[in-house]
Symmetry: C2
Subunit: 254 residues, 2 copies
DNA sequence: GAGTGGTCTAGACCACGAG
DNA sequence: TCGTGGTCTAGACCACTCG
């Protein structure tokens, strides 16, 4: 029930509701310290386990962080980075480093990234979207992107090895002014791209790379790039859900 | 650490890791019954609280459901409904009921929806995106959409009252063949639309309406529709994250 | 009716980090 | 050093649901 009846709701739910109200009303502002477990035990006259159930619930909802040592728990901040996508000519292009940097700087953030190159067999997603046999060799450009010093998103691009073996794509540095432009300059024009956007709770591996706490979902954008009629490469972007939104600016269809 | 060291990882983490491995490897298939708390206490020689910590963690990750009565816990299913967005002429249009029904039927689902009409002051999001004073009266078309009998998504459209007061928009039924087309037939052509896609853990209210368990994030798509140069109305769509993905099919930009 | 998970308590020890 | 949260135990009662 949305409106909590005091009668039969579990104690830990009531406690969670009380704290949630304080957070959404702003009495507990982002960054503020949540009362300690001891304080909550005293003020609500419940056991520590009950307090912890309530706090775990709020953590799973992404409202508060876990607490370490004497620091205590804190109400999560929530200021969104915007990723713009627009099929109009000349628009910024996600996945090209200079645009990533330019766009984030214009939003007042300090971006940076680490690039690794790897070779491996095509994972299932890649083989399926690029229409490749499962044992095809692919080059992966793994990028871990930082905003204001904190890891914030992962962008992994998968290219068939045969397509890129003698190109700058296999070099572990930035590609100026971007992969799409590089191919265009070499006569292979991008005809279309398809974005699949979804969300889920992070795998432990992603949670580790992005240093995610409990209760933070990820936004996933799988982009398949087409050169001519055929899918050419795939970029898988994993974004911290509490820090990003993707904006598509599209022309009217009729 | 991605690779779990058996040495100092908490017991409940080890238990969670073990179960997570069984799930991702397929030994515990979607829909399968998770071992009972008693069984896990016995096989892993830990207390019930420890078992529950592990199971809560997996629930928060969206891997298993909560268990009720003798039914036990179950590994979550994950078959995605695809929502197509394409700015090409004649493409299906999200938010128009017949397309919603047609598209989902073609994917093998049984869709339906409940429509309610309400009048209220513009919420902050709406006032901001539509460039309206905060106290503007708006008409809200609230749609709760069901797939195979289960509530699956919410689609609420906000229209300035003055714009739609004598139109079918204020009628609590389907608008054939859709709102965009209706306006186009009356001389007001949609020039563009802007989608803001984000994710978060559901508010308790959304969780209740969509009957969401722990660990299921929602995908949010806020679409601002433009007629001529000006924003005209806004549709806010809240999708169960474990059941949906949105696919944007876009033309190459250069 | 029997077994499941949901809720709750009262304790204990430990690692970590701010003062 | 001292308080915080992290981890863990043993036990209790209840509501629900399946057979």
């Amino acid at each position: 029930m949305p409106a909590a009846a005091t009668g039969d709701t579990p104690l830990y739910q009531e406690l969670a509701d009380a704290l949630r109200t304080q957070i959404s009303s702003g009495r507990l502002a982002p960054g503020a310290r949540v009362p300690t477990e001891h304080e909550l035990m005293a003020t609500h006259d419940v056991s520590r386990s009950t307090v912890r159930l309530a706090l775990n619930l709020l953590a799973a909802e992404g409202l508060i962080t876990a607490g370490r040592g004497r620091a205590g728990r804190v109400v999560r901040r929530r200021d969104l980075i915007t990723i713009h996508v627009s099929p109009q000519p000349g628009a910024p292009r996600l996945g090209e480093i200079d645009e990533f940097v330019t766009e984030l700087r214009s939003q007042g953030f300090a971006p940076s990234q680490k690039i690794e190159i790897a070779m491996q067999r095509a994972p299932e997603l890649v083989a399926d979207r690029l229409d490749l046999p499962g044992d095809t060799l692919v080059v992966v450009r793994r990028r871990l992107r930082f905003v204001d010093g904190a890891p914030c998103s992962i962008a992994d691009s998968y290219f068939p090895y045969e397509m890129v073996k003698d190109t700058p794509v296999v070099q572990p540095g930035d590609i100026q002014p971007g992969v799409v432009s590089w191919f265009a300059e070499h006569g292979r024009v991008q005809s279309r791209y398809v974005d699949e956007v979804s969300t889920k709770m992070p795998e432990p591996d992603d949670a580790y790379r992005l240093q995610l706490g409990q209760g933070v979902p990820v936004l996933i954008q799988n982009r398949t790039h087409y050169l001519g009629d055929a899918p050419a490469w795939l970029t898988r972007i994993v974004l911290r859900g509490d820090r990003h939104r993707i904006v598509y600016d599209l022309p009217g269809a009729r």
